[in-house]
Symmetry: D2
Subunit: 358 residues, 4 copies
Amino acid sequence: MRIGILNSGGDCPGLNAVTHGVVGAAHKIGWEVIGFRDGFEGLLPPGDYRFLTPEDTMGILKLGGTILGSTNKGHFSAKIGVGNVTEIPKEIIDRARRTIDQLEIEALIIVGGDGSLTTGLQLFRQGWPIIGVPKTIDNDLSATAMSFGFDSAVTTVVDALDRLNTTAESHKRVMVLEVMGRHAGWIALWGGIAGGANVILLPEIPFSLQKIADFIKNRDAQGQHATLVVVAEGAKLPDGELVTIDKNSTGEIRLGGISEQVAARLQELTKKETRATTLGHLQRGGAPTAFDRILGMRFGVMAVNLAKQKAFGRMVSYEAYHVDSVTIEEAVNKLRLVDPDGEFVQVARAVGICMGDS
Amino acid sequence: MRIGILNSGGDCPGLNAVTHGVVGAAHKIGWEVIGFRDGFEGLLPPGDYRFLTPEDTMGILKLGGTILGSTNKGHFSAKIGVGNVTEIPKEIIDRARRTIDQLEIEALIIVGGDGSLTTGLQLFRQGWPIIGVPKTIDNDLSATAMSFGFDSAVTTVVDALDRLNTTAESHKRVMVLEVMGRHAGWIALWGGIAGGANVILLPEIPFSLQKIADFIKNRDAQGQHATLVVVAEGAKLPDGELVTIDKNSTGEIRLGGISEQVAARLQELTKKETRATTLGHLQRGGAPTAFDRILGMRFGVMAVNLAKQKAFGRMVSYEAYHVDSVTIEEAVNKLRLVDPDGEFVQVARAVGICMGDS
Amino acid sequence: MRIGILNSGGDCPGLNAVTHGVVGAAHKIGWEVIGFRDGFEGLLPPGDYRFLTPEDTMGILKLGGTILGSTNKGHFSAKIGVGNVTEIPKEIIDRARRTIDQLEIEALIIVGGDGSLTTGLQLFRQGWPIIGVPKTIDNDLSATAMSFGFDSAVTTVVDALDRLNTTAESHKRVMVLEVMGRHAGWIALWGGIAGGANVILLPEIPFSLQKIADFIKNRDAQGQHATLVVVAEGAKLPDGELVTIDKNSTGEIRLGGISEQVAARLQELTKKETRATTLGHLQRGGAPTAFDRILGMRFGVMAVNLAKQKAFGRMVSYEAYHVDSVTIEEAVNKLRLVDPDGEFVQVARAVGICMGDS
Amino acid sequence: MRIGILNSGGDCPGLNAVTHGVVGAAHKIGWEVIGFRDGFEGLLPPGDYRFLTPEDTMGILKLGGTILGSTNKGHFSAKIGVGNVTEIPKEIIDRARRTIDQLEIEALIIVGGDGSLTTGLQLFRQGWPIIGVPKTIDNDLSATAMSFGFDSAVTTVVDALDRLNTTAESHKRVMVLEVMGRHAGWIALWGGIAGGANVILLPEIPFSLQKIADFIKNRDAQGQHATLVVVAEGAKLPDGELVTIDKNSTGEIRLGGISEQVAARLQELTKKETRATTLGHLQRGGAPTAFDRILGMRFGVMAVNLAKQKAFGRMVSYEAYHVDSVTIEEAVNKLRLVDPDGEFVQVARAVGICMGDS
């Protein structure tokens, strides 16, 4: 039995943890794993792939990026975004199918975002044995409450805010930090809350620069001279206002990103020194956090379970949770022990960890 | 209106985030907050406490430990553990009550573990306005799926395993790491999975040293000469076996902790160099992770909500979640946007973060 | 006896370690320390200052920024740069002098860069008891081989390169990272070497974009598809070439910083996906490394020593060192033990650390 | 031309940076590099080795441990310590020599500590082309002012102290941290200074537990209820006093390491809660700091330079430096630019980094 796996779209901390989980769990039940290189491109004949054994994946758990490579361009690229689905040409699909058949792949795990999963759905509808694993660093896929990579990105944002805070306080400045989030502001929201931001601007909540300036001036009046602003890259300046920044003394005209535009306007409105920083690709790179390593592995193990059950056309998900309350009486004196037969122990066993009892 | 807050029991990364959330949310609705020092001890007349304003809690989000101080001893200490509830003497309770009455405290938030919450329950039954926030770094309280501090502890374990792994591979050794978890092995299980451990030993799963030795020898035969073993402090040597370790050349006899005993026995059984390390207090200290900062703040904000609703005798909790699957068709093309009226935005607003729209 | 201390110019990791060293060492010999706020501005009547005791500086060792505040603007700001010295008006100096006299300051420690030290020199020449501590995150002051903050900045660059490297390899990209270094390229050079950069561009070494493109294409031909480029902010495009970047699909014209210009040209010349990132203020913020904490403390302790000796007009420095070789015979069998009377133990004792012998 | 390299003795962060420097610099001048596995053992026929190219060492700069493997046991192990030199049997040397001759190794770089370098010296005296690179995480080799790995170990100690400090303050405890340093206390001294320790105990300075207890009680009286004690593993209890620790309630008798013994005695003398932690192997593992990556690479490049010059019997060293002072007048207005022909640029070029000018 053979499983194929590929990574598609932008890279994301935890991709290798998924691969680790898939290879470990497959090996445990005696299945082989073939990893395709550079996303769907690796499917095109003669096929760009390698067999993956537990030895190959030893030590990859902590690595950022993807050992398989990925691409968000190429023959299979669909326009990402609601309603923007592009069909992949039949000729491309037929060619790729030949590789699948020749290699006798019985399940193909696609680790990708909305666009790549849409491609996967098209393939599934044509009879391919597709299993999806959601990959969205922005954490904006509605069918999963949490996806790997998000916690790592938030951690990077929090670290950046901790740094900017000290320099903001030393110089009584406004610091504006631009973070990822094209459509959804989760990274800005979580990162801003955990990083002690004073202002958070999201694509989902229209904002007024004048109101923010008033908020900053009010803080100043109360002796709080430093202000941290987090802005999601997809946040929109009110009424399409576009700020022209004259940055160089030589009189060059330039238009910056959203953080530079917000910073320029806030400096104008508040008369305070304001600086912009864009985190950019620093959010994608780097080692995954412990949480993302585990979530990635859990997703990988679940994907193999789905393959075993031939539950094609399904995507691994993470069920919703939220903060709530219970009576203290219900709460005390009941330890929540590890269930020796529960999901977590199963994950550990599935990837070949010895629990000392067999 | 006045809320009191105290931290009780061992310290835990994220305690200050709870305080930050409570103070921010209370201030937003015009309530005062009084922080009692050193747990319940601060309640004894004349009272050891301070008023807490948003200025006081600025910057504490990222600090480990507790700015309020804590104790797991003193006049209120209950024996922790299922069935081991000790009643607090009436005389002590009456004295503490006077402080509460004099300061006109209308809700008392207790951030503590099973023992401290049991004390809180006793007080609630006597008419105190108690609200509980669960604090358990071991994450072993059944009424909450996740508690703050756990992610930080797991992260510390993963960092330690990353370090031990490089030295294990350089020297072809077995490294045994002892982590927290007296009754429940969650830290060992999550930390071990994320840190790439090869063997994980829990209080919940009886193990055989001979089986582990066989597993290690089998790895060696396959060319994997380094093995990482994670053992929870509460894991029990099979059949009460107690290992005597002759560590010094001078012939001193000593008995080590569980990691040293496991290491000594595995070295004997496998003839491989084996080293033990105990993480100990390094797991409690240090800055909370982004996840724990947010969870702590969410717990704090929820505690103030409960106070506002006079929902006394309740404890904040975190509802269960798990990895599952959905059809890809349901999954794609549906962005999960931030709900402008949802819990997360409410938490941000509750602690006074400006969202730019008001 | 009273010492004054102020921080001037841009903030730098380790500033608080200097303050910690000064306060600890002064307290040990029975001197008081007064910290002036916001650089030289704090000297203007009525004086903006606070007394600093060891209790005040407890825990500041690890904090980024400066607890004293700083400014690189104001009444005392000199144009920084060789030959660009601006004299401070006599009237300003006379007013500031009154504060010094009233507070009976017997030595004034100025922690600042080239411009601030030049101001300090002007004051010293007019009879002020000035002692300098060099602060240059770029590490470009010729009179000291190393200054605090530099190691922290290099560490931030290395962390960023580690992150960019994973995403570069996953996507076979060229990543261009812009780091600090207006006149001197030390941060780019050290950071680039330690971070595994493939190309390093400095203000001191004129470069050719064509040669770099050839280098990248050559790497590609050898199967190395990812390339990391580090460019100091002060590096100059060859022959004053200025690149216009049409970034938006809406046709907006913009001119980016040096990293964006280099990236745009390299993408053009190599036809490879190229991305630019600017680290900016992330390099100044954040906790100082262990090395910078120690160097800052050593500088602070030395500054108090100079004050005690009335060695005014002097600046603390760090003597040159370099990699060399010796015969192995000279090298072996000679342990380099801690000298109980050497500088390091003296620093420890000077700030009040107990060595267990008195 | 061929260079051999081996790592001998305990592992140390930065070992792979040395290998990276050697391979890069050798490749640049057209020499081949052979890496021997597991220290001198790899020299025994038929030889356990691999050829190392720049591709092989790509990405190893940031890895802890050693890709070559090491051992501090085996046929070549010398008793380490002043005056404890053990000669390697002639028969072993002759066998190893055959491997060197067959592979036509023209220089053999030994990266090792005092014992391994002593073995190297013996080989050099018998005509082997030996070049030494000092490896001592304790930084206790007299012939080099600094060795790689030390900064990483100090950083680990500082991180641990930051963690212990928060828990010490929350619970008003004395925390005792045991760090490496068998003969020399450098790690304890640097780590303790940078980590804000209150007490530092070294092998070089005899101490009195009673004096330390008085110091702690004095702190308590001044309201400083938390105390951090750093003790080097080689520090000696006064007058050979050996503390018996009755740790378990079951009455087991045990003798702990130096930190546990110091903690037990201090708790007895001060009546304060005291906890001991031993860092152990966590200090050796983990990624090297930026400083150690650079120092390792510089050592590696210098070793190849020595090989090119046939300067056998020599060891790479790092010349002394210290904190001093200069006149401010000498200091200002002189930028310390990167020397385009200086050591650092040479190191960058030597390992194949493109500086954009050729």
